[in-house]
């Protein structure tokens, strides 16, 4: 019994900030800033939800940009990392192990080291302040390949050999034999990549300049600076940033944990 009380108290501490935010999303500005603060809103209107779309005309664009960037990085990471992972795990070619070790070695390099040169490279390519510049450095990640190799090494050789005898090409084997078996690791990678791009702040901050090109994370910060006192709208807007991630989490919980235990690292 006592343990349940404790569990509930802890859940309140972890969830309270969200509960307050949700309650604020129904309040007027003056009610949000009221002292003493209230928890139950005096009205239950969706005005704020409507207002975020109209007060900042860029809001829908930010959502779209975030969705596009996330979709692109998830797709390219799934394809490129699984393809490379297949080669590293199942094919033999000179220099393979050296390449893979060098790849893993780059995991030691913190993102702050590469931030400045990444910006300069993207600048040289003329891609600053564009969706292409935003996603290009992230189309494939080392962690993704690492996860793929770990997982694919455990697949029995016989399956591939059977496919080969049936006249399957190597790409066909990858596509029709290996990939379907990799669903769990693909799901984990998809979620990691989605979370990484959807929640990222630093790289968008560096590479994007015009508010029209912002992602939602960047837009929210801009909205806060722009309309400093409009807390009811900023808080409502932040729910749009949290909700998609929350839905993905609730639907695919086990992959969050699986991905983490497979890698022992954050994506």
């Amino acid at each position: 019994m006592a343990i349940h009380v404790l569990a509930i108290v802890v859940a309140i501490v972890t969830l309270a900030p969200f509960a307050f935010t949700i309650s604020a999303s129904f309040k007027t500005l003056s009610e949000v800033l009221d002292w003493p603060p209230t928890f139950i809103p005096s009205r239950l209107s969706l005005d704020n939800y409507r207002a975020v779309w109209t007060v900042s005309p860029l809001f829908p664009k930010w959502l779209l940009n975030s969705a596009l960037a996330s979709t692109i990085t998830v797709t390219t990471n799934l394809f490129l990392c699984s393809l490379a992972g297949y080669a590293f795990a199942r094919l033999r070619f000179p220099g393979r192990d050296a390449m893979f070790m060098a790849t893993l070695g780059t995991l030691m390099i913190p993102g702050q080291i590469t931030l400045i040169p990444r910006y300069i490279i993207v600048h040289r390519l003329g891609l600053v302040d564009s969706l292409a510049g935003l996603v290009l450095p992230d189309v494939a990640r080392v962690l993704g390949v690492f996860l793929m190799v770990q997982f694919m090494k455990a697949i029995p050789k016989e399956l591939e050999e059977a496919a080969k005898i049936d006249g399957c090409s190597r790409f066909g084997t990858y596509r029709h034999v290996i990939l379907p078996l990799c669903k769990p690791v693909m799901a984990a990678l998809a979620i990691f990549t989605f979370q990484g791009t959807w929640n990222d702040f630093t790289w968008p901050l560096v590479v994007l300049n015009s508010p029209g090109n912002f992602t939602l994370a960047l837009g929210l910060n801009y909205l806060r600076g722009q309309y400093y006192t409009f807390w009811h709208l900023v808080l409502t807007g932040s729910l749009f940033n949290i909700l998609p991630m929350l839905v993905v989490f609730l639907l695919f919980q086990r992959y969050f944990v699986q991905g983490m235990s497979m890698s022992g690292l954050k994506g």
Binding site: A7, A11, T14, L80, L83, I120, N221, M260, K266
Partner: protein, 314 residues
């Protein structure tokens, strides 16, 4: 040349053996070509944006570069400047205070959450999710929410007033409370993340080990202290190392909530790298600072490994 050396002597030209050998050779070459083709897009990306980028950063750190005029070689001048940089010293001190506060607390809280989430609770799935949710929240959303909670007339002060504690602190506007305020937010998010590491480790401990200790008459606390905790040591090491590295790299919350202020009390190293490079266009100096940070992280990791290894031995 022949992939099957043992077969060479009895292989006549045009014989079945040599045809088989040739086919095998051809297959090997085609396998290698396929391999290179499959890894090429990935290697091109990582090669450019991680490998080349890191080398380029090193090159930049010996140069003066503002993006518009060609890089000018300055030798070790950037690194020498680091030693005299007062802001860097402040940032380093802030980050050390920050890590010294965050790492032990987040490790303890994460362990506590994991043990709690591992109990035989009704609705265990719900509690686990509830504890994990802070860490799927983006740094921007959580920073904005906490800024509002920390408001002078905000909810944190209101709760303090209910407890009859001083309740008129401007948490983020006061140089003595701004850093602890950011630390609290970060602990709230990262504890949830590291909980999963501990939860996985707890589930790997065989039930029989704990049962044996209970049969020997140990209390719940004694079992935890003398059986569970030692078995968790590798995970604790992992969490402490990853936690420290994460603390060294704090940026988003600082940028969003305080911009390094008030009075530079929350200025972090990465925030400084950002302002030097992208604010003042001192890309070479920024790169040198990033390398100094890398060195600090590297040394810390080595020290931690050494310290924890010693304790693991007995």
């Amino acid at each position: 040349m022949n992939p099957l050396p043992g077969t060479q002597s009895n292989a006549q030209p045009g014989s079945a053996w040599s045809r088989a050998a040739a086919r095998l050779r051809k297959e090997k070459v085609s396998e290698a070509i396929t391999g290179y083709l499959f890894v090429a897009p990935f290697l091109l990306t990582i090669g450019t944006f991680v490998f080349l980028a890191a080398v380029y950063a090193l090159y930049l750190s010996f140069h003066k570069y503002d993006l518009f005029t060609p890089p000018e070689f300055v030798g070790l001048a950037n690194y020498r400047r680091l030693l005299a940089d007062r802001d860097l010293r402040i940032a380093l001190r802030n980050v050390v205070i920050y890590a010294a506060g965050v790492v032990p607390i987040q490790t303890a809280v994460a362990l506590f959450l994991a043990v709690l989430a591992n109990q035989r609770l009704k609705l265990r799935g719900f509690f686990r999710s509830a504890y994990y949710v802070p860490c799927i929240t983006s740094s921007v959303a959580s920073s904005i929410i906490f800024m509002w909670l920390y408001y002078k007339q905000g909810i944190i002060n209101y709760i303090l007033s209910l407890l009859r504690l001083p309740s008129d602190t401007d948490w983020l506007g006061n140089p003595s409370t701004a850093l602890p305020a950011i630390m609290t937010l970060v602990i709230w998010t990262t504890s949830a993340y590291f909980m999963v590491v501990f939860l996985a480790a707890l589930q790997d401990i065989p039930v029989s080990v704990c049962e044996a200790s209970r049969i020997d008459g140990a209390s719940t606390w004694q079992t935890f202290r003398h059986v569970t905790l030692p078995l968790l040591r590798p995970s604790i090491f992992l969490v402490v190392v990853l936690g420290t590295i994460g603390c060294m790299q704090v940026f988003d919350q600082v940028y969003i909530m305080t911009r390094g202020g008030p009075l530079k009390s929350t200025m972090s190293i990465v925030y400084l790298v950002y302002t030097e490079a992208f604010g003042d266009l001192k890309f070479g100096y920024g790169a040198a600072m990033a390398f100094a940070l890398f060195a600090v992280i590297f040394v810390l990791t080595l020290i931690q490994r050494r310290l924890l290894d010693i304790r693991i031995e007995y």
